[in-house]
């Protein structure tokens, strides 16, 4: 598996595998579209939906131009304040992706560090960290996140921390399991025989070799974190209304869902589903592609 990542990109087996997998390419395509859309939102969105001067309350609840007889300025319609839904989605994706990426990175950093310590040292340290993890896992993660957000005001930084506080456990367990198996390998013994100090052994020898399953989890959990944030926002405990994520947007339009103004909730919902689907497709492929296969 290592060879697949190390060989030159154009010739590497990973790339050839990717080219052979249609689902991976679709997933990657979706991800690229969303990422670019989010990155360049200020440049490509027809309207800045949070610029109070750009919106006009008289434009409120315009139906989608694509589906109804709405205004051609608003491809997907407008919400209660006259904000263009398409623009709101683009900006909302920014928040969703940002929170997703930061949440996952923070969770991974904390989780992998703790897992590394637990796996390498074993004994009391291992017990302590793993029991905390076990306790945390006995609660549904969304409840824990809600609980944390209950004590803090809604805000992007807070929700990232809340997500990390919930997500770290999986990384810690996976890292620990990998460390346990790498620890027995001869090259670790060789490092000890050379006389390398413990911290160098952990970071130079163990850590790079446990990253493969972590990378897979990062990708897979990214989708889950986006959904977690969306759920929290939908429940009102996530990002604030001024900088909504896709989940928040769904909430914003929720009450009017059955009054006929369906587009304010449905389109952000579709965007969310599509993005998560893309992430999952890519994640599934990556997990199989990085799986060490038995070859003679």
């Amino acid at each position: 598996m290592i060879s697949r990542l190390n060989a030159r990109l154009g010739e590497s087996e990973l790339w050839l595998d990717f080219r052979a997998s249609l689902s991976a390419q679709i997933g990657a395509f979706i991800m690229v579209v969303f990422t670019l859309g989010a990155l360049f939102a200020p440049l490509i969105s027809p309207q800045d939906p949070y610029d109070l001067t750009a919106i006009n309350i008289l434009d409120a609840y315009q139906p989608s131009w694509l589906f109804g007889e709405g205004d051609s300025r608003f491809l997907l319609g407008t919400d209660a304040q006259g904000r263009d839904i398409l623009s709101a989605i683009l900006y909302g994706t920014r928040v969703s992706i940002f929170v997703g990426v930061m949440g996952v990175l923070l969770a991974a950093t904390i989780g992998v560090s703790l897992g590394l310590l637990a796996g390498y040292f074993g004994g009391f340290v291992d017990n302590l960290i793993m029991r905390i993890a076990d306790i945390e896992l006995s609660f549904p993660s969304i409840l824990i996140a809600l609980f944390i957000m209950f004590f803090w005001e809604p805000g992007i930084r807070n929700i990232i921390v809340a997500i990390a506080a919930v997500e770290w456990v999986l990384y810690a367990r996976t890292a620990r399991a990998s460390v346990l198996s790498e620890r027995e390998k001869d090259y670790i013994d060789a490092s000890k025989a050379i006389g390398l100090p413990v911290h160098k052994i952990m970071f130079r020898h163990v850590l790079p070799n446990i990253m493969a399953p972590i990378i897979v989890i990062v990708n897979v959990r990214f989708a889950w974190v986006i959904i977690l944030e969306a759920s929290l926002s939908f429940l009102g405990a996530g990002v604030p209304a001024e900088r909504p994520s896709l989940g928040r947007l769904i909430l914003n339009g929720y009450e009017m869902l059955f009054s006929g103004y369906w587009w304010t909730s449905v389109f952000p919902g579709i965007a969310l589903v599509l993005m998560v689907f893309g992430v999952n497709l890519l994640g599934d492929w990556l997990r199989d592609a990085l799986n060490p296969r038995l070859t003679k």
Partner: protein
């Protein structure tokens, strides 16, 4: 062992070629291999790792799965061409007329079934025996392989037995149906020396008693020296020398065989420097044209070696693939 007088060979492999398809290219793991095996004879297939010997063994039973593929060849066994049989007909042969013994007993046995059940399975399947009969035959087979307390062991799970006993159980399963041919792929490599000796002795006795033919695939020349009647030496997917054991070991003709035998350290004499063959066996995607051994060959000096040497019969039963065999 006497050279058995045979009217027709038990197994005859002709022009067997096996390829592996990777995303980048297609590798030839076995290249035009042919040999015959009479009844009651043990053939040792030797070579280093990557030479293709296990692939040949698996091909006889058509156990090659994608990305591997048996590209060509005729495998005649008991008068039928195994390549022409349907998968169902092959299943009737595997475990019945041809049995295989693999290297790692821990992996061969199913950990969730008892030993006796696993041996009986073949009997029920191929002989239509009742469960009771099959179990009795299984215990008899365990007795034949000198398993201590066979009735007790038959009810044991694989993990309850040591490596040596597991391999005995596997051999019991292999001989219970009195196959005509046993193919053993490194059967003792995973075992300790003293256990290895017991297993080899056991195998040797059993095939003599039942006149079973044996194909023994191994990289261990010493094992082959003790067990085989005939030897085939493989290099980079081809058989480069073949003949009766004494001829090959005492008068090798191919430079690789010579080098290989000289590299084997001996327990009886010391030398200050062990003779070594320079270089490495080429990997399958980088085979030299013509004779695949020529880059490492000390006697190869002429451009003739750019042409692939065919496996020629020099004397009855003796074949070499070399333009300049040593005389």
């Amino acid at each position: 062992m006497t050279q058995a007088k045979v009217h027709q060979d038990l197994l005859s492999v002709r022009n067997l070629s096996v390829c592996f398809h990777t995303r980048k290219n297609t590798l030839t793991a076995v290249d035009d291999v042919s040999f015959s095996l009479p009844t009651g004879v043990t053939l040792g297939v030797v070579g280093e790792s990557g030479a293709g010997k296990s692939t040949v063994a698996f091909s006889i039973l058509r156990l090659i799965d994608s990305p591997g593929e048996i590209v060509s060849g005729r495998i005649e066994f008991e008068g039928r061409d195994l390549m022409a049989l349907s998968e169902q007909e092959m299943e009737g042969i595997r475990g019945n007329r041809i049995c295989m013994i693999f290297q790692d007993p821990m992996v061969t046995l199913n950990p969730v079934y008892r030993i006796g059940d696993q041996i009986a399975e073949g009997l029920i399947l191929h002989r239509g025996s009742s469960k009771k009969e099959a179990h009795e035959r299984a215990i008899t087979a365990l007795r034949e392989v000198a398993m201590p307390s066979p009735e007790l062991r038959a009810r044991a799970y694989p993990h309850e037995l040591s490596g040596g006993m597991q391999q005995r159980a596997i051999i019991a399963a292999a001989i219970a149906l009195h196959p005509a041919l046993i193919i053993a792929d490194e059967p003792t490599t995973a075992l300790d020396a003293t256990i290895q000796a017991q297993i080899l002795e056991l195998l040797s006795r059993l095939i003599k008693e039942h006149s079973t033919s044996l194909i023994l695939v191994t990289h261990n020349l010493a094992v082959v020296a003790e067990m085989a009647d005939m030897i085939a030496v493989m290099y980079a997917g081809r058989i480069i020398e073949m003949g009766y054991k004494a001829d090959i070991l005492d008068h090798p003709l191919h430079p690789y065989t010579v080098g290989l035998l000289e590299s084997v350290p001996s327990m009886t004499k010391t030398t200050s420097r062990i003779k070594q063959i320079p270089g490495l066996m080429p990997s399958l995607d980088d085979l030299p044209p013509g004779c695949s051994f020529s880059p490492r060959c000390s006697s190869c000096r002429t451009p003739d070696c750019f042409e692939r040497p065919p496996l020629r019969e020099i004397s009855p039963g003796r074949r070499v693939a070399c333009h300049f065999p040593l005389t």
